[in-house]
Symmetry: C2
């Protein structure tokens, strides 16, 4: 006896595209253009144009499984590509324009991208990799100038393309690709299937996920080239949430203007963006009406507790989420604990955790002694599996990141509380082991960043003859502010034992970042590990 | 290029069971026992016991794909069976004890049930079908007496059973069965797969579905033998919502006591239950503290607008949902329209609709002229498809209910508005066609039930020489109240044109119901169609 009286309905991105076109064709897609003007379109328009884009791409010879790369901002054309390419059976491959040209060149060749669609403002990035790969077609979204010679105009393609009827697809077909940012070794490619994309949507839209509904107006600050756009394009299309795209204008004032004027209910981005926004709000607390804003999803790096407290003072609720390119990306979300009072120090401490796995994501942590208990004490490396978690990389690389029984090893060192709420202590390679005890660089960084004089803080391990390793703090101060190492140690001693305090601090203009905004500790180690400069 | 860098994680009920055991073992399962006492257990206990139940059932020879029937109330043992039987690879088949013994006998044989698990209080039902099927084992959940001779004690089985490790299952395996209530012809069996059950959970838990989260306390009034228990057991297990089971005590006072004392946030049931509860609240508006109650999901039959208005007066929010056994059952949900003011007549009219299809459910309506436009005007029979919609019945019966292109024909006549919100006008066989125009029996019934003297109202079509058909109203009055046909017509003329008003009313003690609480119009037609008695 089998279960086949149920419809074998395939979980495909086409279902999300069709739903947006059928159920909420009038919902708005608003976007800020490079010239700062606001463009307004709808799901109906975007879905209709995506059918014509697919027709045009088909005419160029793009077929099933072919990779179409993008160098685009958060803009409606990017959404059209997110719709058209998977729904026609091809694979959308988002490129991060902030990567080094060598890395980009490696990635486009490794993925075998056949076509590149890019925004006019990113032509310099294309120029920097032009020699590295012979794209069959380069398609430019123009704003002011005609498309350069040798390239095609995106608008011409869409307006001349014949609208296709979407083909039936298998849910296990590839839909999208994204490369890890590669803090160690070469970037590795993750391929999302239609099935994983739709299941991830559902997980993200759950109340215990991010909670996305037809009533939402979503402003994704997180770039659509970052980790599958956090799944927002398809979750919004499936539920009917309106979208507000900031385009290339990611400064605090531009974002805050849009949040207020478009009555945004949900926004999402990495902590560094929110630091700047919090500073702008602190400077002018009454300038923006953010009364519609329900949730600010922050992920991509640990969220300092001071940021959560800071936004709370403005009546704004930060929701920390954790994930990776390999997890589509949503893995865990930290909703406030129902067991702790709102606004208490315990609740703030809780909310600074990474949270509880979204339904259908399984977690465990292991150390040298095996699987760690969920006792909120024992540290181990986080491992995950689930229907939107990678089981391998493109080309069969990186098999060492997956266990024999099929779990993905995240490289994050965590403790897990009895309810399954994780706290990330560090990347496994960033932990400081001093005298046999672990010190969390993340915790030191977060408390350092709560100091009023500190703009940015990174902590790395330096070798120490007596203790094995000791923490070193790298600090970028706020303009016009100062702090001495002693003052910083005094500040840290609020939460840390004396033996955990860094003996040494280095002051820098700015801490180097990876292309996705994380501290580039590899550079800091190269610079500071062999003693002071 | 395929999508297989993603984990081929199977969508199985085992994932929900495991999650409840791992992530929220302490969440409560409260239940009222036949003697009215309250029993408190937890997901951890239930999941642990379900492993032992599975061990014991395996010992009795229950194997993969075997059907295990239940005659149980909403009680924790039923949840244990809902966990154990699918997770061990077998199929749980819920029986409705209110069915006629002939129907029950037909169903248990048609499904080929091998084992029956029943509550002591339902032994008379078992006795009524005892001769019809030779179950290999009959297992009794006892409360006061020992298990009768020839049966096994459920508790003995669980305490002696060896806890199993759940086997790996294919998501397309059968997990559960439910038979339609069969208002026409023989009952037909629907088989739910693990995949459809989990996808249905996710759809039900979405904010645009019913919105179920870890913070909820759910009191399902709807029996667990009704249409897959509306998917609540697995949605609750997956999210970690606590459950409060009313057991066999479904009177208004018992339900209200539990809603108040257990701080229930969500409840779900058919309209007839809520009519009685509304009457109790109207009689004693201050007796129960229902401040935790966020959502009352009402489905299984059309919700009278007067009921929505009535609960609103008590600050309680009715959420109408529509579905069928064939749709797992959740098909559509009617959240208030964001375009209409709260508390306006337009909003109440909107909320009395059946709503918008849950993400991944596709709808269309067709009449003689083909697919109807979404113009809120044109009527057609609703057709649905999706990952938790049946594509056939057990045994290959009822193929006439499915279109050649794979949609399920619901038998409901609807209009669809431009946002995809459906309004059910009638069952296709209940519509009244008078002088070439349709009259909705459902609308007449709903407005009749808003009359203070009317307890129950059903409208059927009677043949008419001049007009083809005319509506006839069958009325059960509230105790001690009276209303004349003229008064009822006067009341109806608020919303209906003169030609739509029934000329004829019949007054009865109570309107006959099917086993799932719907009006049994087939009986009314037999009684009234050939003139007044």
């Amino acid at each position: 006896m089998d279960g086949l009286t149920m419809d074998d309905y395939q979980l495909t991105i086409t279902a999300a595209v069709n739903r947006s076109e059928r159920f909420h064709p009038q919902r708005q897609i608003v976007s800020r253009r490079p010239d700062r003007s606001l463009d307004r379109t709808t799901y109906g328009e975007v879905a209709g144009r995506s059918r014509r884009l697919a027709g045009a791409l088909g005419g160029l010879g793009v077929g099933s499984g072919d990779r179409v790369a993008t160098l685009l901002w958060n803009q409606p054309e990017h959404l059209e590509v997110y719709f058209a390419v998977p729904a026609m059976g091809s694979v959308v491959h988002t490129l991060n324009p902030r990567l080094h040209p060598d890395e980009l060149s490696y990635i486009v060749n490794h993925a075998g991208d056949r076509v590149l669609i890019l925004d006019e403002t990113l032509l310099p990035v294309f120029d920097s990799i032009r020699g590295a790969r012979d794209f069959e077609n380069v398609i430019v979204v123009t704003h002011s100038e005609p498309a350069p010679e040798g390239t095609l105009s995106y608008e011409d393609l869409v307006s001349s393309g014949e609208a296709v009827e979407w083909p039936d697809l298998d849910e296990r077909q590839a839909a999208a690709m994204c490369y890890t940012s590669g803090t160690t070794g070469r970037p590795k490619g993750v391929t999302y299937s239609h099935r994983s994309a739709i299941l991830h949507c559902l997980g993200a839209a759950l109340p215990d996920g991010l909670g996305i509904s037809r009533r939402d107006v979503m402003l994704p600050v997180v770039p659509m080239f970052h980790a599958n756009a956090w799944g927002i394009p398809y979750a919004a299309a499936l539920t009917g949430a309106a979208i507000v795209y900031p385009g290339p204008h990611l400064d605090a004032e531009s974002i805050l203007d849009l949040l207020a004027s478009e009555r945004v209910t949900m926004t999402a981005g990495v902590p560094t963006v929110w630091m700047a926004i919090l500073a702008a709000l602190d400077a002018e607390p009454d300038r923006w009406d953010l009364s519609a804003l329900r949730t600010m999803v922050v992920g991509g790096a640990a969220v300092p507790q001071s940021m959560i407290e800071g936004f709370d003072r403005h009546g704004l609720s930060v929701l920390q989420a954790w994930g990776m390119t390999e997890t589509s990306p949503l893995g865990t979300v930290c909703h406030p604990s129902p067991d702790l009072g709102d606004g208490t120090p315990e609740q703030y401490g809780y909310r600074a955790r990474q949270g509880i796995a979204v339904p259908l994501v399984e977690i465990r942590a292991r150390n040298e002694e095996g699987e760690v208990p969920w006792d909120d004490q024992t540290m181990g490396e986080l491992e995950v599996r689930g229907p939107w978690v990678a089981a391998g990389y493109h080309g069969g690389e990186g098999t060492e990141k997956f266990t024999a029984d099929g779990w993905f090893q995240t490289g994050d060192v965590v403790t897990i509380d009895p309810h399954g709420c994780i706290k990330i202590w560090d990347r496994s390679k960033d932990l400081v082991k001093s005298g046999g005890e672990w010190i969390s660089s993340v915790d030191l960084e977060n408390l350092l960043m709560a100091h009023p004089a500190v703009a940015e803080a990174a902590v790395i391990a330096i070798p120490d003859e007596r203790w094995g390793e000791r923490p070193l703090g790298v600090i970028a101060l706020n303009e016009g502010r100062s702090a001495t190492p002693d003052e910083l140690r005094e500040h840290l001693s609020r939460d840390f034992a004396k033996w955990q305090l860094p003996e040494r601090f280095e002051f820098v203009e700015a801490i180097p970042r990876t292309a996705t905004g994380k501290w580039k500790k590899i550079d800091l180690r190269a610079r500071f590990v062999n003693g002071s400069e």
